[in-house]
Structures are given as C-alpha cells and as structure tokens.
Amino acid sequence: MTAATIFVGILMVISGILAIESKKLLDSFIFLSLLSLLSVFLFIVLKAPDVAITEASVGAGLVTAVLILALRKIGGDEK
C-alpha cells in the first residue's frame, strides 16, 4: 500500500506541476482532473469513501466541466 501511495503521490505532484505549467489551458484542465482522480485514490486509501465519491463527481467531473464550459465561452485557448 505504501509503495502505491508513494507512486500515486509522485504522479499527483507531476500532474500538479503539469497542470500549472502546460501551455494549453485544456491540458491544464485535464491534468487538474487527473490530479483529482488520483486524490480519489488517496481518499480511498485513507478510508474515506464518502469524500472519494464526492471528489470524483465534484472535483474531477463538475470542476472540469465548469472550467471547460468557461473556456469555450471565452473562445478557446489563448496560447
């Protein structure tokens, strides 16, 4: 379990950095979503299934949807 946790943690850190540093905003959203999904895994490890479900639906799903919709309204990526 610990190894898996560390691995997921490293993935999270990487996706966090990518979410911030990626050139295209859409990529950022995807990485943010990925980070949320990875955190869902950690929530399950932490024995928090309620939080995991909420994070999966809200954090990974809804947040990404809202961000993408907003991006579309703005008129796509700039840079």
Partner: protein
C-alpha cells in the same frame, strides 16, 4: 527569474507547513478518544454507553449507518445548511455575473454515438444519482455527489441536444428544496424548541427507512444540488441576450 523566485517562496511555505507538521500527531497515530468524533461514532453524545451493532441497535440518537452522513446531516447539519447556501450563492452569482453576456452558445454537432448513448445512459445516470443520495445514510455518497451526478446527466443532455434548455422548474426545485431543508429545521424548532432537531424515530441502524430526518434531508439536498448545478451549467451554456 519570476519562476525561480516563486519556487523559492513556495519552498519556504512548504518548509513552514512541514514545521507545523511536527506539532500534530504523526500520520495514522491519532488518539480518537480525545476527539469529539469518538462520540459521533458510538452515537453517545447524549450519553449512550452501549456498543453499536449493525442492523441490531435500535432507537439510537442518530440512526444512520454511515457515520460521515450522520455528522454531515445530523450532528453538524448547520454546516451543511451553510454549504448548501454557498453553492446557492455561487449559482445565483454566476447567473448575475453572466447576465447580458454577448456570446453565442457553444454548440457542436453532437456525435452519433453520444446521441444514441444518451437515450440509454441518461435514465441510468439519473437513477444512479438518485440511488446515491437516497442511500446516503447507509453507503458512501449522499446528496452532494448524487446531485452532481444528476447535473452531469443534464450536461450530457445539453451536449447531445441542441434544442435543450433547462426549464424554469429547475429553479423552483432548487428554491423549494432549500426551503424544505430550512423548514425541516423549523419544524424541529417548533416541535422541540431546537433548530434542526431530529423529530422522527431513528429506527434500526442500517435499514433503508431509518435515521429519522437524515435521509429526507439528504434527498432534499440531492435534488437541490442537482438543480443548482444544472442551473449553473445552463448559465454557462445559455446564449446571452443580445
């Protein structure tokens, strides 16, 4: 340069927070008996001393098997009311802010697969969402994820059907369910003089019909969150008035 400095400051922040970590118990070594949640788990806030067993214990102070739910909707129900209010405020605010926006609705001719799958998937999505918030007091989940899943269904509708517009009833539902939540609290106030007091029998822990007002409130929250988030999505989708 800017990045380097930013990284330096972020590093400083990390160091400070790590320093703070020394002050709290190590990971996984929490003494639960010193915390109030011990009473939440044993449902002993009002002085119950018996151990609780699934599907056996009856008429507890709080009847939901999911302890998180019991905290969210019963012990700290007031927080949840506030939380619903934040979401409500946000949805309202998005509506106010995006009012009069001069942009066209984002629409792309939907994929054939999306269109077809929509017909089959949508009822399932709604059903799943409803299941989640109805069983919120028994299984993981509850009103918030349930509502979000329903809203996701609405999003799929938006994406697959160009004519689709959320009707005004969603607003009424949102408003009504919020009102129901507060009214539950007020009924408690009238019956026992205490706001948000559970006034229904709690039943046997683990049964579907148990836990007093908890599932009812969760259903209300589920609908409210679903309607609210749908509204939010539709605000982002809507064409602005020219």
């Amino acid at each position: 340069m800017r990045r380097f400095l930013s990284a330096l400051i972020a590093l400083g922040l990390i160091i400070i927070l790590l320093e703070f970590l020394n002050l709290i118990p190590d990971f996984g070594n929490v003494d639960l008996s010193k915390r109030v949640s011990n009473s939440f788990i044993n449902k002993s806030v009002d002085g119950n001393n018996e151990t609780i067993e699934f599907k056996k214990s009856k008429d507890l102070e709080d009847g939901s098997a999911n302890v998180v739910t019991s905290i969210v909707v019963n012990y700290r129900s007031f927080d949840t009311l506030g939380e619903v209010t934040v979401l409500f405020t946000a949805a309202l605010g998005v509506g106010l802010i995006l009012k009069g926006l001069r942009r066209k609705r984002f629409y792309r001719e939907p994929n054939f697969i999306l269109k077809t799958a929509n017909g089959i998937l949508l009822p399932l999505i709604f059903l799943f969402g409803a299941y989640i918030f109805i069983h919120g007091h028994l299984t993981p989940g509850g009103g918030f994820p349930g509502g979000t899943i329903i809203a996701a269904g609405i999003l799929v509708l938006y994406l697959s059907n160009e004519k689709f517009e959320l009707s005004h009833r969603a607003k009424i539902l949102e408003s009504g369910m919020g009102t129901v939540y507060v009214l539950f609290g007020l009924v408690g106030l009238i019956l026992s003089g205490i706001f948000l007091r559970n006034f229904l029998p709690t039943g046997v822990i683990g049964e579907l019909f148990s836990a007093g007002i908890v599932p009812l409130i969760y259903v209300a929250i589920g609908f409210k969150v679903g309607a609210e988030l749908s509204n939010l999505i539709s605000e982002f989708q809507k064409e602005g008035q020219q």
